[in-house]
């Protein structure tokens, strides 16, 4: 399975529809302070089923919806779509019927999030399972947030042991 594209619309500072093509090898993302780089990373964790608003730097999940600027009004909907290339059919059994998997999460102000896979409604738990089977997920060690690289060092030995679960 390959991650091929991340699309954001109304998510934090990405109010206009934005496509990030995820190519092979290493893709660098650059820009001045506050321009939205970490917001991109959070969008990926969010569509994978992140359910803690605090770990997205907000107070409640509605805080990921574009809140407006001095010149633009706030939005009421945020949507992120992750495109997966499943040509080698390595996805979780019940989702393994298509060449391309589109995982979408949408949140509407005041009424929570909905998940869809290729248009079909899905529970968050299923989304989390789909990614867990790929040794990844909103909280896995392979998604290193800003300032989080030494979390493993700072962690208590018991908590550190949890990463061995990821390796097995």
């Amino acid at each position: 399975m390959h991650f091929t594209r991340l699309r954001l619309h109304g998510f934090k500072s990405f109010v206009d529809s934005t496509d990030l093509h995820i190519g092979t090898g290493m893709t660098g993302i650059v820009g001045p302070n506050g321009c939205g780089k970490s917001n991109l990373v959070e969008a990926l964790r969010w569509v994978m089923g992140e359910n803690s608003a605090k770990s997205m730097r907000g107070g409640e999940m509605d805080d990921v919806i574009f809140g407006g600027t001095a010149t633009r009004p706030a939005r009421n909907v945020a949507e992120v779509t992750l495109e997966l290339d499943n040509a080698h059919r390595t996805a979780t059994a019940e989702f393994n019927n298509d060449d391309t998997l589109l995982v979408t999460r949408q949140i509407e102000r005041g009424s929570g999030s909905d998940y869809r896979l290729n248009g079909k409604p899905l529970r968050r738990r299923d989304v989390q399972l789909l990614f867990a089977d790929q040794a990844t997920g909103a909280h896995s060690t392979n998604l290193v947030g800003q300032g989080q690289i030494d979390a493993l060092i700072r962690a208590k030995p018991q908590d550190r042991r949890a990463i061995l679960e990821e390796a097995s």
Binding site: K12, M26, V30, K37, A135, V144, K156
Partner: protein, 167 residues
């Protein structure tokens, strides 16, 4: 379950020792799984000594040394069970230039070995220069993010907040 954990541990420990030496260009490190009566409470201990230094408390390491040690552990786990994606948000911020160079070598070799696609957010020119492609994030309109494909020169200009890059 306990055997599976022990098996994962041996593999990760082996790789951790190798990766640590690659990132530090020497030195010695290893992990210990402190077995507890209760395997749910077993602790994963890290022992590390950079080249020429004595093995001391992990907390005495410098900022950059902690980052390198953490990266060695992170990628040891990753190699043992790779995933299609890996994202690093300014993970190398604390490193000096020679360590950034070794960091980039390691990321590149893991990408080739596992076929994983990497997203590397960075402010460091050295790191930008090693990427296969670059995207710049800009806010031409304040508070509104835009993504644009860039070359190295433009990437550095954007990072520096140059007005020219907004064109």
């Amino acid at each position: 379950a306990r055997e599976r954990l022990q098996g994962a541990f041996s593999l990760v420990n082996e790789r951790f020792q190798v990766l640590f030496q690659r990132l530090f260009n020497g030195g010695k490190a290893y992990l210990e799984l402190l077995d507890n009566e209760d395997p749910m409470n077993a602790g994963l201990e890290i022992f590390a000594s950079p080249p020429g230094k004595k093995m001391q408390m992990l907390t005495l390491l410098s900022g950059g040394e902690r980052t390198l040690t953490a990266l060695a552990l992170l990628f040891a786990v990753f190699q043992t069970n790779p995933s299609p994606i890996c994202v690093l948000d300014e993970a190398e911020a604390a490193l000096d230039e020679s360590n950034i160079s070794r960091f980039c070598d390691l990321v590149e070799s893991i990408a080739r070995e596992t076929g994983t696609r990497f997203l590397v957010i960075t402010h460091q020119r050295l790191t930008m220069a090693r990427m296969d492609r670059l995207f710049g994030v800009t806010m031409g309109e304040k508070g509104v993010s835009q993504l644009v494909s860039v070359n190295l020169e433009t990437a550095v200009a954007i990072r520096d907040g140059a007005k020219a890059a907004a064109a």
